[in-house]
């Protein structure tokens, strides 16, 4: 593998030479130049991402056909000739190894003369040239020409011969085209010297030099080390940014490239490390990481030790060796401090902070050393440092972390929002696409917490539409999950599942991402199956989900809630209570979230209600409502109120229940949670019925007021039924249907009552069928 020069670069030089000859017409000059530039200028990874694949491929491997595509449609200023014709003439004018050497020797004449040369010319009495076009030495083209010449001078003879052979092979496809256009000129397909000796390609001598030119195999010259390095850098950048894996196609290409060259950049070991890491191949990722360190030791010595440790720590934690990870990270922190590498230090701190959030039990050591102080202090420290060193993405994520912390602790909503807005401002002004994902995610959560579901929905949609393709895979998955959760809340399971299945398995080649995806889609299905009362499926899914150890507190809590819900539905209240107690005990002050607290309290109250002792849940519901109210956790508040309403019902406080539930009904509907709405409606039915009942008992007769209550109850029952139907919640539907039948029976409408009873039986049958 050559260091820099490749046959395609020689072809580019030919094109530049044609351009400087001034035969490119004005109309096509821009086209030719932009083609050249797209081939020469290294694209910034961030800029290129939009059209990365197509542009990037062009970088290293410009096929001769690419030249034809670009050039053949453009006319030169010579009549009747396209630039492609001129280009062909140029590349075929290099008819021997010597011609190539001469070409490179003379290539500096394309450049503007240096000051020294100009002075020398003047001293020698030569007039400065005016006619021909010359490239400025520092222009992109000029720099490329100079670089190419320098690299050629560095080549040893056999290397330049290799380049020549590569070039012969490279241009060979155009031979027939060229020979057809210039039948008069005697042209050798390979080397003019062979022609002069009267030998053809099959002669012994030609075979000795060129081997078999036609066969494509062993085209080791097409890519230079520089190209490979750039390719690897790009790949590593992509992997780090997106967190995916190297696509199969690319991987085989890389293998092929690397197999052809003796000088492999050490970066390839890093790439392999990343790939193995994402693939979950623990031993080989370790192996490759250490191999990379060993190979780079020579050039970088200790200067990257902290980064090595950082990588190591991240790797360790990903594989569950948390203790090791923490100690490696601590070492990294101290090295970074020692060497005043603020970037690394900040990154380490930030990582430690997040790690501490996820695994507080492993942070004892760190806490003891007082490295980060408590959470708040840590955040303040990070914020200050990030501002100091102008690490905007760190600052943005820190602000988000702060907002998240405030939300979790149920503190001021305003300040949380303020932090989000500040982060958003940073993201926009500094163009931080990478931290937009977390920001939108947090926004989603925030809106969900204050019960504005449509805004929450909007945030996930914005992310999906605008940032999805460029965001790290993890963010994308999470956001999609939120999105689907919202859909599922409204009972649109099919849509949700379709959406989550849209994520192509190609992107899920990373082990972690795959696990997440499996968890998310499993979770959604489980929810659906629970509602459909399909116990077999639900049981099956549940065991599967529980076996996936997702290292994320929020997600495991979600699963716990769902499990409890399921257990409640199957009527095993004792077990439900036990599960609940267990999860309460597992809660730690570091990961404490008001949301889950409220949820747990409500669940407990509901279990009491279901198990026939609703009054025991009163204080629980009151506490939940209180907490939710204080921390503006509105969905929680509505939930608590519905539970409370249930308690009041059992105390025969129909009036109060009705009033309370009716007052929250608009907000509940706004929240777009069918389950909650259905329960609220069902409560209203009961309350109205209760009121009608008391009225009847007092008056002993069917008063119009009583009738009105009944009608209202009927209306509410219809609403509740609709909500349950949307959710496909068969149990709920049955319950409502039963209530309706009873209602009709009480109003003495036998026919309708019969009707509803038949419907109820149908539903039961359907449910049994599922079962």
């Amino acid at each position: 593998m050559s260091r820099y020069l490749t046959p395609s670069k020689v072809a580019l030089l030919c094109l530049i030479a044609i351009y400087t000859e001034g035969v490119v017409s004005n109309s096509s000059a821009i086209h030719v130049l932009s083609f050249l530039i797209s081939c020469l200028i290294p694209l910034d990874a961030a800029e290129s991402s939009s059209s990365s694949s197509s542009k990037w491929e062009r970088q290293g491997l410009i096929d001769i056909a690419d030249f034809e595509d670009v050039l053949s449609s453009h006319a030169s200023s010579i009549p009747g000739r396209s630039i492609w014709d001129l280009f062909l003439r140029k590349i075929w004018s290099l008819d021997s190894c010597d011609a190539l050497e001469v070409f490179f020797a003379e290539i500096s004449s394309l450049l503007m003369k240096t000051r020294e040369e100009q002075i020398q010319d003047r001293n020698n009495g030569l007039a400065p040239e005016t006619g021909s076009m010359r490239l400025s030495r520092c222009s992109p083209l000029g720099a490329f020409v100079r670089r190419a010449q320098l690299e050629f001078t560095r080549l040893q003879f056999h290397d330049s011969v290799k380049l020549w052979r590569g070039f012969v092979r490279y241009r060979l496809p155009t031979y027939h085209l060229w020979a057809r256009k210039h039948p008069s000129e005697e042209q050798a397909a390979v080397d003019i010297n062979l022609l002069e000796l009267g030998l053809d390609q099959s002669s012994h001598l030609a075979q000795a030099i060129y081997g078999n030119v036609e066969d494509d195999y062993g085209d080791e010259n097409a890519i230079s080390t520089k190209d490979v390095e750039r390719l690897l850098e790009f790949q590593v950048g992509e992997l780090q940014r997106l967190g995916g894996r190297v696509p199969d196609e690319m991987r085989s290409k890389l293998e092929q490239v690397l197999a052809s060259g003796a000088t492999i950049p050490s970066l390839v070991h890093y790439l392999r490390f990343l790939d193995a890491w994402k693939a979950g191949d623990y031993p080989s990722s370790f192996d490759n990481l250490h191999r990379y360190f060993d190979y780079t030791m020579q050039s970088h010595d200790r200067s990257f030790y902290q980064y090595a440790l950082l990588n190591l720590a991240v790797l360790q934690s990903d594989f569950g060796c948390y203790g090791e990870a923490v100690s490696a990270m601590q070492e990294a922190v101290s090295i970074a401090r020692e060497s005043h590498d603020m970037n690394c230090l900040n990154f380490c701190m930030s990582w430690l902070y997040h790690f501490g959030k996820a695994f507080p039990e492993h942070m004892k050591d760190v806490q003891n050393t007082g490295m980060l102080g408590n959470e708040k202090e840590g955040l303040v420290f990070l914020k200050a440092k990030a501002k100091e060193t102008e690490m905007w993405s760190l600052l943005s994520t820190t602000l988000l972390s702060e907002a998240k912390l405030e939300l979790q602790n149920g503190e001021s909503l305003a300040s949380a929002l303020e932090n989000v807005v500040r982060a958003s401002h940073l993201n926009v002004t500094k163009g931080l696409t990478s931290s937009t994902g977390p920001q939108l995610l947090l926004q989603t959560a925030l809106y969900a917490r204050i019960g504005v579901t449509h805004l929450s929905w909007l945030s996930t949609e914005i992310f999906r539409e605008c940032y999805g393709s460029r965001a790290p895979l993890e963010d994308y998955l999470k956001s999609t999950f939120r999105n689907c959760q919202l859909l599922a809340q409204k009972g649109r399971y099919k849509e949700a599942l379709a959406r989550i299945n849209q994520i192509s398995p190609d992107t899920l080649r990373s082990l972690k991402a795959n696990q997440h995806w499996v968890f998310f889609s499993g979770f959604l299905q489980l929810k659906w199956q629970i509602n459909r009362d399909d116990k077999v499926a639900a049981e099956h899914l549940l065991t599967q989900l529980q076996s996936i150890q997702v290292p994320d507190n929020d997600l495991s809590l979600l699963l716990v809630f769902l499990t409890i819900e399921y257990v409640i539905r199957s009527g095993d209240y004792g077990r439900a209570l036990k599960l609940l107690e267990k999860s309460v005990q597992a809660m730690q002050p570091e990961t404490f979230d008001v949301n889950s607290q409220v949820k747990l309290l409500c669940l407990k109250a509901r279990i009491f209600e279901k198990s026939g002792q609703p009054q025991r849940g009163f204080s629980l519901a009151m506490r939940a409502a209180n907490i939710a109210y204080r921390s503006r956790l509105l969905p929680g508040l509505w939930e608590a109120i519905t539970v409370l309403a249930g308690v009041l019902l059992s105390l025969r406080e129909f009036e109060a229940t009705n009033e309370m539930v009716e007052s929250i009904m608009p907000q509940v509907l706004e929240f777009e949670d069918c389950d909650l709405a259905a329960r609220a409606y069902s409560l209203l039915v009961d309350a109205n019925m209760g009121m009608a009942g008391t009225l009847r008992r007092q008056t002993k007769a069917d008063s119009p007021a009583c009738k009105e209550y009944m009608t209202r109850a009927m209306g509410y029952a219809d609403c509740a039924y609709d909500q349950y139907e949307q959710l496909e919640d068969i149990r709920g539907q049955c319950e409502i249907m039963a209530k309706k039948a009873t209602l009709m029976h009480l109003t003495a409408d036998r026919v309708l009552a019969n009707d509803y009873a038949a419907k109820y039986l149908d539903l039961r049958k359907q449910a049994n069928l599922i079962r």
Binding site: S96, D98, E101, F157, N193, L199, I209
Partner: protein, 681 residues
């Protein structure tokens, strides 16, 4: 040495060559084996049992052919010894093949054979080799020859000659290897050319003892020639040339088909006289003929005789690349580059992987200025093996032609690292250093070249040039004379000698040398006419003008004028020149004369002067036309005529000058002067 070979002779030759190839490779003399095998392959086919090679029947028929009578060991004593040592020999050979020389030697030789050397040190204290620069260490006097009278005993155990040769040769190579390792970098501090092979003294003493013992036993004529050859080589390395010659001649008598011995013998001969001296001592067979041709080629004797012998040989070995190379080199020496390059091209086409002598081909292409072809050859060589000294030389030459001298030097150095004794690389590196104005390095390179082969006139000439650059004319003169002695018919050499004398103020000698150059030049003109068709004897106007100016310096104006006239005459070459020739040739001639005025540039690589040398060889047939030199002569003559009152002639000459458009101002002034005198007188 008449050669009319019968079929019987050919068959015998075939057997002999086969025998030589097998035995040489048995003794690990790879190059000789290769040579013999190549020659064997190129031998004309025999009619009787040489059936169609493609026919499958051939395989079954081959064993039916007569057995090679030479393959069997003739001497019963040797045969029994060899069969006794067969296994040990195999062991030793395999060690040799894996380049474990010491181990190979140890198979047959006892670890210490020093006792004998201890006894001989004291009686023989004087060093006989003033030629070898010795290191300050005390060392046993080396290479005692038998006639010293000192008694040396055979230190070796009783072995067959084959095994003994292998063991001693391995020892010798081990020494060479160590020597190479000690020298380290090319032209580095340790590479002064004075590191020696430390095994040589022991080997020389031992072999001496061995041979004396054989003599005493009356077995002297039962040698096989191999050990004699080795002894010769060892003596040669110790610069004991007379003895070496003796032993080598003995070796070729005993074993005439061993090419290595001939080659060593060739290296010993410094001049044609030497060759003539030993010719009578040589055996009369075909190998002697080949040797003679090779020698003549190496000594630049591109004479009719040599060509004659060569073509005779070619009838026997029609496809021999070796002979073709010799022929090409002969053409090269007689400056027929086209023909030489043709032959080389043929060789290249028939065997593209052959790298031998490719460096010579690259020299030819260099002289012809054929850069694309040179690049092509370099490509071919690189494709075969990029780490062969020949390849490096070709590539170096290519870079040199491209004026990339640093790279060229790098490649020549590489060639030398691969083989210290690669002659042409030393010389070529010297040339490069001259180009890079590193005169001291150039001198050292040339010196090493000369040390390797004293017949390389280019190196001698280069040394002269280098010293001329340093203004050390005495040294330069010495080296130019050496070069001139090697190439007595090369005018360049004599011109260099002449100009050197002129610089030293020894004008008479200078004139003599320049006249010699004139004669030599005319000799070549004649010589060229034999090959190239009708030619004319023409004298180099340059030299003539130089002689004239020298006479002027001596104050001998008559002579000077005469030579100036001669110079003028060369314009026409005694024939009225056709106009188009004069006009078209003008450019080249100007270049030539420019080059000629600074002899340094001109004589690079002996003959080429920046690529115009071809024309130089061809043009004299038509006269030179008007050149700067002849114009100078004309101006001088005009002035001289004016001074001597020959106004007519002065006017005529000045008019001609005006016509030619050279030195017009001067000429016009002269004409005015003439007119003034005419009017005045």
């Amino acid at each position: 040495m008449a050669v009319n070979f019968t079929e019987e002779n050919i068959r015998e030759l075939r057997f002999r060559l086969e025998d030589a190839a097998i035995k040489s490779s048995e003794r690990c003399l790879y190059q000789s084996a290769k040579w013999a095998a190549e020659m064997l392959d190129s031998l004309i086919p025999l009619n009787d049992y040489d059936t169609d090679p493609d026919s499958p029947m051939d395989i079954t028929e081959t064993p039916a052919g007569p057995q090679n009578p030479y393959l069997a060991v003739q001497d019963p004593l040797e045969a029994s010894l060899e069969s006794k040592e067969a296994y040990k020999y195999l062991l030793a050979k395999s060690y040799f093949d894996t380049r474990e020389y010491d181990r190979c030697a140890a198979v047959f030789l006892p670890p210490t054979i020093s006792p004998i050397s201890l006894s001989t040190t004291s009686p023989n204290p004087k060093s006989r080799h003033s030629l070898t620069p010795q290191k300050g260490k005390t060392k046993a006097p080396q290479f005692t020859a038998g006639k010293d009278g000192s008694v040396t005993r055979n230190p070796y155990p009783k072995l067959s000659q084959k095994s003994l040769f292998l063991a001693l040769y391995a020892k010798y190579l081990a020494g060479e290897k160590r020597k190479d390792e000690e020298t380290e970098m090319v032209l580095g501090p340790a590479d002064g050319g004075m590191t020696v092979n430390r095994e040589l003294p022991d080997l020389a003493r031992g072999l001496d003892g061995w041979f004396t013992e054989r003599d005493e036993q009356g077995l002297a004529d039962r040698g096989q020639g191999w050990l004699e050859y080795l002894y010769g080589v060892i003596l040669l390395k110790g610069r004991n040339e007379a003895e070496a010659k003796k032993w080598l001649i003995r070796s070729v008598h005993l074993n005439p088909f061993h090419w290595g011995a001939w080659q060593e013998l060739n290296d010993l001969l410094a001049s044609t006289e030497d060759l003539k001296q030993i010719v009578d001592d040589l055996p009369q067979n075909i190998m002697t003929l080949i040797f003679h041709v090779h020698c003549s080629q190496e000594l630049y004797q591109a004479t009719e005789d040599t060509y004659q012998s060569l073509s005779e040989l070619e009838t026997i070995f029609p496809t021999s690349a070796f002979l073709k190379t010799q022929k090409a080199l002969l053409y090269y020496h007689s400056k027929d580059f086209e023909e030489a390059s043709h032959i080389f091209t043929d060789i290249l086409i028939s065997s593209p992987h052959r790298l031998d002598s490719l460096d010579h081909y690259s020299n030819i292409l260099y002289v012809m200025g054929a850069r694309p072809q040179l690049a092509f050859i370099a490509q071919v060589a690189t494709a075969t093996d990029k780490f062969r000294p020949e390849t490096c030389c070709v590539v170096g030459n290519y870079y040199s032609l491209k004026s990339e001298h640093e790279k060229a030097v790098m490649y020549f150095r590489r060639a030398l690292t691969l083989d210290r004794n690669f002659l042409s690389a030393w010389t070529l590196m010297g040339h490069e250093y001259i180009e890079m104005k590193n005169t001291h390095a150039a001198i050292e390179s040339y010196r090493r070249a000369v040390d390797v082969n004293r017949k390389d006139y280019r190196a001698w000439y280069g040394l002269g040039q280098a010293y001329e650059v340093l203004d050390m004319s005495f040294y330069a003169l010495f080296y130019y004379q050496r070069a001139a002695a090697l190439r007595p018919y090369d005018p360049k050499m004599w011109q260099a000698v002449g100009s050197c004398y002129a610089k030293m103020g020894r004008i008479e000698q200078s004139i003599k040398a320049l006249k010699r150059a004139l004669v030599a030049g005319s000799y070549y003109a004649e010589d060229a006419s034999q090959i190239g068709g009708a030619g004319r004897k023409i004298l180099d106007p340059e030299t003539l003008h130089q002689i004239a100016t020298l006479y002027e310096r001596l104050g001998d104006e008559e002579e000077a004028a005469a030579y100036m006239e001669l110079t003028l005459q060369q314009e026409t070459g005694h024939v009225a020149p056709e106009d188009d020739y004069t006009s078209s040739d003008n450019e080249n001639d100007d270049e030539q004369s420019n080059a000629g005025t600074e002899t340094k540039g001109r004589s690079r690589r002996g003959q080429q002067s920046f690529g115009t040398s071809n024309e130089e060889e061809e043009e004299p047939m038509y006269g030179t036309g008007v050149t700067a030199t002849t114009s100078k002569a004309r101006l001088w003559l005009a002035r001289w005529a004016l001074r001597h009152g020959d106004l007519e002639r002065a006017d005529q000459l000045a008019g001609e000058l005006c016509q030619d458009g050279v030195e017009v101002e001067e000429a016009k002034a002269l004409m005015r002067d003439v007119r003034a005198r005419r009017e005045g007188g």
